[in-house]
Each structure stands twice: as C-alpha cells, then as structure tokens.
C-alpha cells in the first residue's frame, strides 16, 4: 500500500460505492469526497483500521460556494503519526441541514465545529455546545459567508442613561471603488 492509489482503493473497498463519491490526489495527499450520511463511519474506520491509523484530527474547515445548491464544503484533515500519512475528507452540505458531529470520534472536533458554526452557520447534530467560539454573540450573522457585508451587520454602543449596551443595525456604507479612483488619479 505504498502508492496513494492503492491506499485510496483500500479505503473505498470498505464502503458502499455511493458512500465515497470521489477520490483525487493533490500535493501527495489523498482527498476523498464522502457522503454526508457516511461521514462518521468513514472517520471511525480511518481512525481504527490497522492499515490507516489516522489517530489525529488536524483540522476541520469549510468553504462557501454561494452559487451551488449545496452551498458548503466541509474539509476534514486527518493525520496518521504512525504511518506518516495525511488524508483529507470533503463533504458537501446545505444551509439548513444539520451535519453529524464528530465529537464522539475525536473530542477535539467539538471546538472546530463550534468555529464553523460561528463563521459559516453550519449546524451540527449531537453537538454538546454550539455557542460561538471566539466572536461575540452580538456580532450577528456569519462572517465567512460570501454574502456577509465586509463591515459587519451590527453596531455596538453603550447607553449612559440606561447603563446598558445597545446593539443596533449598521447602515451599509457605499463602497468606494479604490481601483477606479487610482486610475482616475493617474490619468490626470
């Protein structure tokens, strides 16, 4: 099982054809595209199988593709310290679908999922604690979505009379086209 192709085939053999949709190689790393329903099974297999031993969940990230029907792609990066190998799992998901949490397989997945929840608004099933991880609840919206306004949605201020914080909606400011401004400056 030295080559990535052999290894990819080995993993695919343990699952039904529709579970692992795609297989690609890039930069010496294998990427499997997994069906949503098969995710937890695949990750458990990769962790426990004697020929895989991906015992470390390095990262979970997400990408937003606003024009797709299933908008989000979640990327799971696993490392096998024993066999010196890495693997990446890709999974498509939609805005209003809850993804199964990996917290039962890798405890550290809980925080990665919280971060994805706060930044992309992807929801997770069987998750112990879905509060925002880093940014404040009053920020509002999901900053890493492509349709999120650059300057944010909410404004925070302190009201001296009521002695409390006030969250108000930010008025969108007209965006200046900096490239156009520069070009106009050069032609003069």
């Amino acid at each position: 099982m030295e080559s990535l192709d052999d290894f990819g085939q080995y993993v695919s053999l343990h699952f039904a054809k529709q579970d692992i949709v795609g297989r690609e190689k890039a930069f010496g790393c294998l990427t499997l595209t997994v069906l949503r329903a098969a995710l937890v099974r695949t990750v458990s297999f990769l962790r426990d199988d004697a020929a895989c031993r991906f015992t470390q969940l390095t990262d979970i990230t997400a990408v937003h593709y606003p024009n797709r029907a299933e908008e989000f792609v979640l990327l799971y990066r696993l490392t096998s310290p024993m066999l010196n190998r890495r693997i990446c799992l890709k999974m498509q998901t939609a805005r209003d679908v809850a993804v199964a949490s990996l917290g039962g397989v890798f405890p550290n997945a809980v925080w990665y999922e919280r971060e994805i929840r706060e930044m992309f608004g992807v929801s997770f099933e069987n998750h112990p604690d879905l509060r925002r991880l880093l940014i404040d609840e009053s920020v509002g919206g999901f900053p890493l979505r492509k349709d999120f306004p650059k300057a944010g949605k909410n404004k925070l201020s302190y009201d001296e009379k009521t002695e409390s914080f006030v969250v108000s909606e930010k008025q969108p400011e007209p965006q200046k086209n900096l490239i156009a401004l520069n070009l106009a400056g050069e032609s003069e």
Binding site: I135, D136, V139, K150, G152, K155, L156, Y158, F165
Partner: protein, 136 residues
C-alpha cells in the same frame, strides 16, 4: 514654634494631591502600549482599577472586550479620565470597519486621544500634560 503644618480646605488639598499623583491603569488590548513607551513617559502604573485615576486603553476594542472595558471604567473612583492610545482605539485603525471592532468612544467617554501607529512616548507625555492642564 515649628511651622511644620499648613492650613487648606480638604477639597483643595485632595484636588492638589490627585492632580500630582496620577496613577494610570493600562488596558493593553493591542500592541500600542508596549510600542508607545508609555512606561518611559514616567507615570506610575497601577493594575487595580479601584485605585487608578486614568484608564489608558491601547489597541482595537472588540465586541467581546467592550463589556470588560466598560466594567473596568465603572470600577474606577470618581475623578477619572480615559486616554485612548493609538489609531486602533481611536477608530479601529488597521481594523476599522471590521465586523467585530468598535470605537472606544462608543463604549466609554474619552477625554484624550493619542493618535499614531504606534504613538511616540512624547505624544503620550503631551497627552498626560494636556490632561493635567484641563485640571480634571
């Protein structure tokens, strides 16, 4: 008889003492406070808001830090002033228009702004002199 006493009204005396013994509470939310050399400006630093006269806020104030800044300000005793150090605390600076950054002036009343990225120790000293000039 030795003249080792003097008479003054208590108000004037305490005002004089406060004006000449300022303790600043630094609240470093960013890199400015270290870079600007506030320590070289020669003010006594006090990490207890209950005993501080000036709140020195440096760096961008995020949504999450805003309640902390306000709470520290509320804890300080009555004649108090806020100095905002650097562009970040002034209007967000490098992080202006970020979705998670607020202006310091929206959270607490600011008496003195020190601009710069980072400001020099001289700027900071001038701001302190300006505060003293205002009489507080």
């Amino acid at each position: 008889m030795e003249m080792n006493f003097f008479a003054a009204s208590l108000e004037k005396l305490s005002a004089w003492a406060q004006k000449n013994a300022i303790a600043a509470m630094p609240l470093p939310l960013g890199c400015c406070l270290g870079e600007s050399g506030a320590v070289q400006a020669g003010i006594p630093v006090c990490y207890n808001p209950r005993q501080a006269d000036i709140l020195v806020v440096a760096g961008a104030v995020s949504f999450k830090a805003a309640p902390v800044v306000r709470r520290v300000y509320d804890m300080m005793p009555a004649p108090k002033a806020v100095v905002s150090v650097g562009n970040c605390a002034l209007n967000g600076g490098l992080f202006a228009d970020s979705y998670a950054v607020v202006r310091l002036a929206d959270i607490v009343p600011v008496d003195c702004f020190v601009k710069g990225c980072p400001p020099t120790a001289a700027d900071f000293a001038a701001a302190l002199a300006d505060l003293k000039g205002k009489g507080r």
